[in-house]
Amino acid sequence: MLKTRIIPIQILILNLLLGIPLFSGNNTDIVLNPKPNLIEKNYGELIVHRTICGDLGNDDVYLFSPFDLAGDADGHLWVFDNLQARVIHLDKNLQYISSFGRAGNGPDGFSRGSMGCFVHIHVGQDRHIYANDITKKVLKVFNPSGDYVNSVPYRLPDIPEPPTSFRAVDKKGNFYFLIRKGNRIFVVNRARKPYFDIQGEKADFGFLYFKPSQAFLTYYQIPEKTDVFVLEERMYLYLKNSSVLYIRPLEKGTSCRRYLLHPKNALRIYQTRLEEIKKWPDSYQPFFIHFFPDLDSGKHFYLHLGREPDGSRNLLYKFSNDGNLDEVLFCRDPQGSFTRFRLKMNDTFYGIQDEKIMLYKEKQDDN
C-alpha cells in the first residue's frame, strides 16, 4: 500500500528534476487561458470612410469584382479581382501602382470558371504574394513586382492542404500547411516535417445545445474550417467550428495558448443560425466567419461574426492577444448588402461589399 503511494511521488520528483512533462503527449505545452474576459460591454460603431469601385484612375485596369484583400508591411493594399483574374496593387492612399495575373494555364494564370476565379491572396512577411488558386489546387508565389516565382500544387494526396485563405508564411518565407489525422491537426512545413500538433476535443463543442451532427464532427476539415495566420513571430490557428484559437510563438519550446472564444451574445446568434440550418442535415455554419489580426499593432485580432438575426448590425469582435474581448464593433450595411471584413491596417478596416471595397473607421465620440 505504501509502495503504491510512493511511486507517483517518485515519478513526480523525477519528472521535475529531469524537466519531463508530466503527461507525455504532444499537447502538454498547450496552456488554456484560465478566464479570458468575454463580456460584451463595449460597443463601437464603424462608419464608411471610403469606397473603392471600378475606376482606379488608370485606363488599363478597372476593379470589377474584388474577391480577397491582403495588406503588406508598408500599408499597401493588394486586391484579387476574380472577374479579371488579376492581383491589383494599391498604395497607402489607394492609388493604383501595378497589377499582374491573368486567366489561363500558364505559370502566372489562374483558373476561371463561370463565376470567375476563386483565389485567396496573402502578402507574407517575406513580402511575397501567395495566391491560393482553390479550383486548381495550387499555391502560386509572386514577388512584389508581380513576377512569378514558383508554385506549389497540393492536389496530390500526400501533399498537405493549406487552408482556404492561406496566410501562414514566416519572415524567412517558410510556409506552413495543415494535415489532419483523425481528430488531430498537424502543422507541418513544406517538407511535411511536423511543427506542432493539436488534439481535437469533443468538449470544445460543449457550447452546442444539441448533439453535434456529422458535419460538426468533421471538426478538422482543414481547407474551409481553419484559419491560420503567421504574424511577426506568432502563429494563430483558429478552428471555426468550435471557435477555439491557438496562439503559438514560432520559437520552439515556447508554450501554445488555447482560448475558447464563446462570447455570450455571439453564442446566442450562432445558436439561432444553427437552428435555421438544422433542417439541412449536412449544412455547416462556422462560429465566426473570418479571422484576421491587427496589422498595425499586432496586439489584437478580430473575428467577424456577421449579421445579427434581425439583420440590423454586422458585428466584428476585437480581442487582445491574451484572449480578452476588448470591444464589439459593428457597421450598418444597406439592405440586401453584406460586408465581409478581411483586413485591419492603417487604422482602417477593409471589407468587401458587393463589387466594392469598403473602408471603415471607428466612429469617434464627440466627447
Binding site: 469601385c53 471600378g54 475606376d55 478597372y62 470589377f64 472577374l83 486567366a103 463589387e355
Partner: protein, 183 residues
Amino acid sequence: MKRRENTAITLVIAVCIAFNVVTAALFNHRLQKIRKNIPYLLEKEKIRYFHLVDREGNVINHNTLHEDTPRLIFIFSTPCNPCNKNLPFWNSVAGIFKKKVKTIGIILDEPNSAFNFQERSHLNFPVFVPEDISRFRQEMRIHLNLAQTIFYADGVRYLQLGVLEPESVTTLCNVIKSHNRGE
C-alpha cells in the same frame, strides 16, 4: 443622218442609265439581304422598334434612347450560357457607372420567368421585357440567344457581342469614360 446619230447616243445613254439603276437596285437588294443576315444592328442603323415594359408596367420606347443621358443596354435571355457568364461583368459595369450612365437589361423571355430571374440574381440594373418579343428580335435582328452589350450615346452605338472578356470590358469602360470626359 445627224438625227439618227443623236437617237443612237440617247439610246446608249438610256441603256447605260437603266443598267446602272438596275445594278444599284440589285446591289441594294443584296445589301439588304446581307444586312438582314447579320445578327445585330450596324453602327448607324436606326432602331425602329424599342417598346419595353418593366415589372410595374412602366413602358420605355425608342424616344428614351435619344435623351441626353447615355444608355448601357444589356440584351440577354435566361437559358443563354454566354449571357450568364456576362452577368457578373454587367453587374459590375452597371455599378461602376451608376451615376453617369442609365443602364437597362432586356430579357428576351416571358415576363414571369424574366422578373423571377431578376429577383433571384440581385442585378444592379433595372430589367425590362419587350412588349412583343418576336418583333423585337426581328427588328434588332437577334437571331440567336446572343448576349449583346450596347453603349448608346449621342446616336452612336458601341456594341460587344457574346461572352465578354476582361479586356473587352476594360475597353467598354474606357469608351464610357472617354464619352463622359468629352461631355
